[in-house]
């Protein structure tokens, strides 16, 4: 469940609805009622209003904190440093992006073995996004030329052919800037 929420675009979409729907329901109900049903003043005691304000604000801050604290293990900075600590056997791959292709030191990987992607751009701003065979984005990196490498560790879980796409606009053939990685099941 948490993996779905924090590691996929549709998970983000679910959280989006979770925030939007209660707001729009309550807000539009109040607008409708106080405009078209009974637009007179409500004599709600100011003490009660203050209590609603406190509950609302602490609720919002509480949920914001919860959503973000639970997301921390999914930060690439955190998962990368954990993987680096736990695993000695990390496969290093150097990626250089240029208009409009990738140079990669390796394109074949094994399920379960962590891969450290070290990526940079040699001309303009490019992206390096890996798509799971099911179409989900595993991660994307932004590569600004002249900046030290972007780097993170990812461990493939499923065998298959993974698509690589550039997600930063880089000129007239931007949409043709892609590549493929092959992930095979581990030998043991």
């Amino acid at each position: 469940m948490l993996d779905f929420l924090y590691q996929s675009g549709w998970g983000a979409f679910t959280v989006l609805l979770f925030f939007q729907i209660p707001f729009v329901t309550v807000f539009l109900y109040i607008v409708y009622r106080k405009s078209f049903v009974d637009s007179g003043a409500s004599d709600t005691a100011s003490k009660k209003m203050t209590r609603v304000e406190t509950i609302w604000m602490s609720g919002v801050i509480g949920i914001f904190l919860l959503v973000n604290i639970v997301s921390i293990p999914y930060f690439p900075a955190i998962s990368t440093s954990q993987a680096a600590k736990l695993d000695k056997d990390i496969q290093d791959v150097d990626v250089t992006a240029m208009s409009w292709s990738y140079e990669m030191s390796e394109r074949e990987f094994v399920v379960g073995r962590p891969v450290r992607f070290n990526a940079k751009s040699s001309d303009t701003v490019h992206g390096f996004a890996i798509y799971h065979p099911n179409g989900r984005i595993l991660f994307t990196m932004m590569l600004i030329p002249g900046v030290s490498k972007s780097s993170l560790i990812y461990t493939f879980k499923d065998p298959g052919t993974y698509k690589v796409r550039c997600l930063e606009y880089c000129g007239l053939a931007h949409h043709d800037m892609n590549d493929e990685l092959v992930v095979t099941a581990s030998s043991n």
């Binding site: 924090y6 590691q7 675009g9 549709w10 983000a12 979409f13 989006l16 707001f23 729009v24 807000f27 109040i30 607008v31 106080k34 405009s35 078209f36 637009s39 007179g40 003043a41 709600t44 209003m49 609603v52 609302w56 604000m57 919002v60 801050i61 914001f64 959503v67 973000n68 997301s71 921390i72 930060f75 690439p76 900075a77 208009s99 303009t124 701003v125 992206g127 996004a129 798509y131 179409g135 989900r136 984005i137 994307t140 990196m141 932004m142 600004i144 030329p145 002249g146 900046v147 972007s150 780097s151 796409r165 550039c166 997600l167 930063e168 606009y169 000129g171 007239l172 053939a173 949409h175």
Partner: protein
Amino acid sequence: MLSATTVIRNTPLFGRMFNVDTDTGLEEINAWPGLMIMISFVWLLIAGLLGVAMPVTQIFELDSSLFYGAITAHGAALAFPFTFQLMVGVSLHRAASCLGTPVTGPLPALIFWFMNIGALLLALAVLLGLNISYAVMFPLPIVGVETGQWSMGTVILGFTGIALVLVTVILLYPLQIIKMLFFDNRRDDLLLSPRSLKDPGMLGMAIAAFVLLITGLPIIIVASAVLLGLYGILPMNLITWATEPVVFQFTFFIFAHNLMEAMAIMVISAVYATLPLYLADGTRKLYSDRLANLALWILLVTSLTSFFHHFFTMFPALPAALSYHGNIMSWGTGVGAALTIFTITATIWKHGLRPDPGLMTVIMGFVLYIFDGVSAIITSNVAWSFQLHGTMWQSGHTMAVLIAMAMIWIGVFMHHYPVITGRTLNKKPGYWFVGLFTTGALGVSYSFLAAGAAGMPRRFAAWNQEGWMVYGNLILFFGLILGAGMAALAYDLYKSRLISEPAGGKSAVPAE
């Protein structure tokens, strides 16, 4: 008669919708704002056609450079000569009528001409092939010349246009607001509804002016250096610091990010200022000015440094600590927004509303604004950013925030319409506009966000894979509904009647 009034009168079709009333002695606060608002809608028409062009090039698999040309011009037109110019027009009228200062002299004229000539030059450069997308991904313009995608001439032309627009946004407009707030003499004949900096409406305007001025200065310096280099006035080896991609990217996003935040502060302050005028019990007072001002200050403090969220996916080139800071500050803007939601809802709950199309436009614009804010803070979480950055989610956010802000300004404009033009609007087409425009905006926005969730890249001329075309078709469909909404508004403006004319239905005109 002022020259701005003459230009409006002589503009075919649009002139009738925005004609300034010259009988009330208020021409000095109406003419330039009226002209700016009118021209902003001309740009919206252009942006709308370009918006439709994008899915069309994809459905019929036309040449991809058409798509990239359309997206560059569409984004640039929507952000600057439409939304920003609309905001300038409405806010200058609003400021003038609240402070009793005229909008005349060289500054408003410069704002108008710089913005529109700049936008025209950029549009011309795009037509000539400068397809750099609406966010300048430096050094793409230069790399594009080296790889033969467009010529150096188009880069110089386009950058000249961008420079004129930036000078308007970062220097001229904030200086005009500051001049009116602190230096111009108050004239009682122009003062319609006195306000001071203690009012949330005025406070937000002042904050926004200073944010634009201060956070825009770095990009003005860097862009001027680059431009002087391109003109050959400065030798290229003197400006290498400015053409460093990371320098340009950071100064660009510090500005572009805070531009949006300044516009947000400005637009929320406009909601705070307009809502009380429609309270049913005649109170004309927010639930709490203190809470409203607090929300603006929270928004200011948290938004200033939350721009790091544009760079999370550079890790570790952007140190993790700065990412976390950006993440926390971005969600902090959500706390400010929650406070705003409470103040607005409590005000409506406590005092009731007199429904009116202008007010409902503001309210539905506010709903869109909050909806968009949710999508914004979600991508500003570090974990989600790695799934969503560079996808249609981001385009959806950019577009939705512009639509939401524009909708609120349109609502505020509808409120001021009788004072500016001496005519009143009709309720029925007004409500049609609110309904269609809200439906279209929500539909477009959800289509973009769902496309992003499905991994569809933004600024990407190959929709015909992985089943992404569905989202493209939905965007086109809801985009046309947005267009129908604008048509209803145009009809409403066109069919407005003189205040003195006997009305079919009774429509009360609230004071400013």
